[in-house]
């Protein structure tokens, strides 16, 4: 394989930024944000350079690797700290550093009044470095380091304003739920080592054929648990909504465009495992399908603009996971949707941030209305993102989402029908709640208080939004024209199992999808544009709305099923620990102490007793020798 010595700079630059800013302390306050942005931008530059080099090479030589150092060498267990940049990881590298840089620029202005802006940029850089390590690691163990790193950065950033107890709790919740996923990943690594004796991607791919299906299924399920934790998929989805406590640029970067898509990366990267473990693959599809409905339903009832977008993120990642679960035909579309989603969702989050910026940090959409006139640029960029997520041609989402719906139908049999219908209904609900967001925020009559003075954001903020809007418009066409992304990723996946059978023609799928979208939009219009919207959420609503407002009872479920029994278990264990184990230890300690005190009596301070003791010892010694010799 081609080797390169410059891959490490991708990670080293932002990492150096984080270290400098964290250790530099207040001295770096003045220029910390500039340094952070520069580091992210130069990492993007290295990424582009690598892309150029990669394009120049013939297909089979495109992946490059770099061995950093021998990391672990214990008996049979050898792991190098190595990086791998192939067609899949370059997509992520450019997305992470590109969108990351835009969000750095945006944050310069967005966080300008925060006295801890330097620390914020340090964490952002830390996140970029960790996320790059996640996608560049050449083994599961290297990936795991990045995986934990982004978890840490996410925790730090969600709780960035931890002076508010609710925000601190939110970051803790995200961290704890992510630990469950992390445990899954570590189990998957252990299974890989136990059955195949290696944890590198190449090694597992090579040995996967010899491993038993049971082992691969176990590994696949554990990988799915990991992906569910990181990507907020059912049943580990509950943390994402609360994660919106973080500053909005964080929500855009980490909780929309990049980190939460790590699960999709993991499953796509482990394609060799899932292709050989149909049961695990089926579970992936099921989790994706459930989550895409789950997120969409929550999205319909949210009045908090960021939480509505978060629910939408959850749902859209459900689409990606579903596609990734469909096997070789779906991987490329999962990644495509991931990339287009990275543009339009990040753009919309930045738009939401822009709105909040102009509205005294108000997040309740019922207090917005008619902002179109006051924030024209935000309205346009947000609107383009809106069209993209709906899947209106020729915007980005049209290409990527349609492909997923089409692939779902083509999965064949009842499975195909169920998945196809689910994705279609999901598209309709998406259209409904996104239209609702648009109407409540930008059109209708003004519902804000008199002390709000909505205004357009400064150029440092709208420029990144504009760039992302361009992506929302064009990325779908660019990635899919001539099957560009599909062909690009093609060498990575195993296409043996691929069998072409079209249940529905692409044009039919598009027509159905557009019809569903139109229905969703129409319902939203009739409900929110035709009648006056109340500035407080109505109380006398149907039971379904109530449930949806409570995030489909996810927290209550977790509380009842996991937290309370868990708490009871720990209470019992603590009690048992105190009585049984501590009791035993104290008993032994007491016994030792009392025997010690008894023996102390020998030490009475008289030389004559000491000499006698020596004499007795000598006699005993002679006696003992006598016994031994006899």
């Amino acid at each position: 394989m081609t080797t390169s010595s410059s891959l490490v700079y991708l990670i080293a630059l932002p990492l150096a930024g984080a270290v400098l800013l964290l250790l530099g302390g207040r001295r770096t306050d003045k220029w910390g944000h500039l340094l952070g942005t520069a580091m992210s931008a130069s990492s993007f530059g290295v990424g582009l350079y690598q892309l150029m080099l990669m394009l120049d090479r013939p297909t089979e030589q495109r992946p490059v690797s770099q061995k950093l150092f021998e990391w672990i060498n214990v008996g049979e267990f050898k792991v190098d700290a190595g990086l791998l940049l192939d067609q899949l990881s370059i997509c992520f590298v450019l997305l992470i550093t590109g969108v990351g840089t835009l969000i750095h620029i945006y944050s310069i202005s967005y966080m300008s009044h925060d006295k801890d802006r330097r620390r914020f940029f340090a964490y952002l850089n830390l996140f970029i470095a960790a996320m790059l390590l996640l996608v560049l690691g050449d083994s599961y163990l290297n990936l795991y380091v990045g995986w934990e790193g982004v978890g840490l950065a996410s925790y730090l950033l969600i709780g960035f304003w931890n002076q508010k107890p609710a925000y601190a709790t939110a970051s803790k919740k995200a961290f704890v739920m992510n630990r469950i996923g992390d445990m899954g990943l570590s189990f998957a690594i252990m299974i890989a080592f136990a059955t195949m004796g290696t944890v590198s991607f190449a090694g597992v791919q090579e040995h996967a054929h010899h491993a038993s299906e049971a082992a691969l299924t176990g590994m696949g399920i554990m990988l799915l648990v990991a992906a569910a934790g990181k990507s907020a998929q059912f049943p580990l989805q509950a943390w994402l909504g609360d994660a919106m406590a973080g500053p909005t640029p964080v929500s855009a970067l980490i909780h929309a465009a990049t980190m939460v898509t790590a699960g999709v990366y993991l499953i796509t990267r482990s394609n060799f495992v899932f292709d050989a473990a149909p049961t695990a693959q089926l579970l992936v599809v099921i989790v994706g399908a459930i989550t895409l409905m789950f997120g969409a339903l929550i999205g319909t009832a949210k009045d908090d603009i960021k939480k509505a977008l978060a629910a939408s993120t959850m749902s859209q990642i459900g689409y990606m996971i579903l596609a990734a679960g469909l096997g070789p035909v779906g991987y490329a579309f999962a990644i495509m949707h991931l990339l287009t989603h990275g543009f339009f969702k990040a753009g919309m989050f930045l738009g939401a941030g822009s709105v909040m910026h102009g509205m005294n940090d108000e997040v309740n959409m019922r207090k917005y209305g008619a902002l179109r006139k006051f924030m024209p640029i935000t309205f346009v960029t947000f609107g383009l993102g809106y069209l993209a997520i709906l899947g209106v041609p020729p915007f980005a989402g049209f290409y990527s989402k349609d492909m997923i719906i089409e692939t779902a139908f083509n999965a064949g049999g009842a499975k195909g029908i169920i998945l196809g219908v689910t994705t279609l209904i999901g598209a309709a609900i998406t259209a409904f709640y996104m239209t609702r967001v648009m109407i409540l925020t930008f059109t209708g009559t003004k519902r804000w208080d008199d002390n709000a003075h909505p205004h357009e954001s400064p150029w440092l903020m709208w420029l990144p939004m504009a760039v992302l809007a361009i992506g929302s418009v064009s990325s779908g066409y660019l990635l899919s024209s001539g099957g560009a992304l599909e062909n690009w990723l093609h060498p990575l996946f195993d296409h043996h199992a691929e069998h072409e059978h079209h249940l529905l023609e692409p044009i039919v799928v598009s027509a159905m999808a557009l019809t569903m979208v139109a229905i969703g939009v129409a319902i939203a219009f009739s409900k929110y544009a035709r009648q006056e919207v109340s500035s407080v959420a109505p109380e006398n609503v149907s039971i379904f709305t109530k449930i949806a407002r409570q995030d489909l009872m996810q927290d209550r479920f977790n509380e009842a099923v996991f937290m309370r029994p868990g708490q009871a278990l720990t209470t019992t264990l603590v009690a048992a620990d105190e009585v049984v184990i501590d009791g035993a230890v104290r008993g032994v300690g007491q016994a030792a102490m009392s025997s010690g005190s008894a023996l102390r009596g020998l030490q009475n301070g008289y030389v004559r007793s000491y000499a006698a003791l020596i004499l007795v010892g000598a006699i005993a010694l002679i006696g003992a020798i006598w016994v031994v010799v006899q």
Partner: protein
């Protein structure tokens, strides 16, 4: 009657000759240099002598000779390692001894007498302690390389007599100090008598006083075994007394407590190296072929030393006594290295001796720092909250305690691990199990002190931590660094020991 002039190889003997020369000059300094200059001159002289001797040890480290002193002394790898360890320990102890606060101004005066007061007011110092230390060190250097019974006895007395004296030199609580010195002397003489008695039996058994001669008789098996066994037993008693193994340990808590703390540090660390060095040579070479007779006995002594030392240490309220019992337990741990009787056991014992000796000096050095207006505070209850008042002293002490307990990342862990694995390799399972169990018991009281220092609120009783002088600080820092380095990256030292530690016979 004709005398043949002895042939001596001066280069190989130079480490010892340098020390003796330095000690003699030290005596002259006492006589001819003015009182004011003496402390500086003596310290410089002593330190220079020790360093020069260490340099010589380093330079001849690869040499081997049975005839360096007409067959009375043997020069080989273990000799160099043990002598080097003794010298390093002596050097870091000297810094501690040089802190003037610890010694009586006039040793000959009665406690509380007018002469003593006068001497105190005149600011006298007993600088005699420096040549005494050098004499003791020379004895310790000869002890592990002696290769006949006479030389062994001379070395034993040579290291003991200065120590008896020094134990009685404490500035505070002089009566207790003098009492401990007398006890040490009386019991030491008693043990020496056993030693000589055993030596006589061994001569009777083999007709030779040289180790080679005794060894050949043991291998030949021609002599009377009863003579051998009695001789071996009594000789061993003399040695076990010096290392403080049960039941010949009773002097050590009293002496450790009564002696001036710097002397306790030096004695506890260096004497152990010397005495165990001699035991290693005797059991690994002279008595190696009579293994069947002594292994069970030494195992039993090791087991009761470990258990009694650890158990009694728990109920101690005085930090110096606690360390004394801990040293008894450590004598037991070290005996398992004798039992191992293999190359791994030899290497491990030498490493353990060095690591333990350094940590011991460091530990006692911290003890000298904790004081109130009446001198050192050794009551553990008054160490509460030390971590807040003096993080330096408390964390250094915590490190040494962790090393004694054998917690990983300290030298103690590597030492315990290697010595127990050597004994296990030999099949001494009972010793190893007891060793691990008593390590656990010991960890209890070591860690209790750490809890006391860091997690208990202080009582306001005027206990202050003296701001460490440069010298004491040097002792603590050097010991701490060695303890940590040997715990984190012991490989070079272990390799060095393994390559060098081969007895010649």
């Amino acid at each position: 009657m004709t005398f043949t002039a002895p042939v001596l190889s001066y280069t190989l003997l130079s480490p010892i000759l340098i020390l003796l020369g330095g000690a003699l000059i030290g005596v002259l300094v006492e006589a001819f240099i003015s009182k004011a200059l003496r402390p500086v001159v003596q310290l410089t002289l002593t330190l220079g002598t020790l360093l020069l001797s260490l340099l010589q040890v380093w330079r001849i480290r690869g040499e081997q000779s049975l005839t360096a002193a007409m067959g009375s002394l043997v020069i080989d790898g273990p000799a160099a390692l043990l002598q080097g360890s003794i010298l390093v320990i002596a050097i870091i102890s000297i810094f501690l001894i040089a802190d003037t606060e610890h010694f009586t101004p006039l040793a000959a005066a009665l406690p509380g007498s007018a002469e003593e007061r006068e001497a105190t007011q005149a600011g006298n110092q007993v600088t005699e302690v420096y040549p005494l230390t050098l004499f003791a060190v020379s004895g310790m250097m000869i002890f592990p390389i002696a290769s006949d019974l006479i030389m062994l006895f001379v070395a034993l007395e040579m290291l003991s007599l200065p120590l008896y004296l020094m134990a009685g030199l404490s500035r505070r609580r002089r009566l207790a100090s003098q009492e401990s010195a007398l006890k040490y002397f009386l019991l030491g003489s008693f043990a020496s008598a056993f030693f000589l008695f055993g030596a006589a039996y061994l001569y009777g058994y083999s007709g030779s006083i040289t180790f080679t001669g005794i060894r050949e008789s043991v291998i030949g098996g021609s002599g009377n075994d009863v003579l051998l066994l009695i001789g071996m037993a009594f000789l061993t008693i003399g040695l076990l007394f010096k290392v403080g193994a049960v039941p010949f340990h009773s002097w050590s808590p009293d002496v450790y407590q009564g002696a001036p703390t710097p002397i306790t540090a030096f004695m506890a660390a260096a004497t152990k190296v010397a005495a165990f060095g001699a035991m290693l040579r005797i059991f690994y070479t002279v008595f190696a072929n009579a293994e069947w007779s002594w292994t069970p006995i030494i195992s039993a002594i090791a087991i009761i030393s470990m258990l009694l030392g650890s158990l009694v240490a728990i109920s101690q309220r005085d930090v110096k006594r606690m360390l004394a019992y801990s040293s008894i337990a450590h004598a037991g741990f070290l005996l398992s290295g004798i039992i191992a009787l293999n190359k791994a056991g030899l290497d491990a014992t030498i490493f353990y001796l060095f690591a333990y000796g350094v940590a011991t000096v460091g530990g006692f050095a911290v003890v000298t720092l904790v004081r109130d207006s009446a001198g050192e505070v050794t009551d553990l209850n008054r160490w509460k909250g030390l971590g807040k008042r003096s993080p330096f002293a408390a964390s250094a002490f915590a490190l040494f305690l962790l090393a004694f307990a054998g917690i990983p990342l300290t030298s103690g862990f590597i030492g315990k691990f290697s010595i127990f694995s050597a004994a296990y390799e030999k099949g001494a399972t009972a010793v190893v199990i007891t060793g691990v169990l008593s390590s656990a018991i010991a960890a209890f009281f070591y860690i209790r002190v750490i809890v006391l220092m860091f997690f208990t609120d202080a009582v306001e009783d005027g206990t202050a931590v003296e701001i460490p002088s440069v010298l004491t600080r040097a002792t603590v820092v050097i010991s701490a660094v060695i303890t940590l380095v040997l715990g984190i990256y012991p490989a070079p030292v272990l390799d060095f020991i393994t390559n060098l530690a081969i007895f010649i016979r």
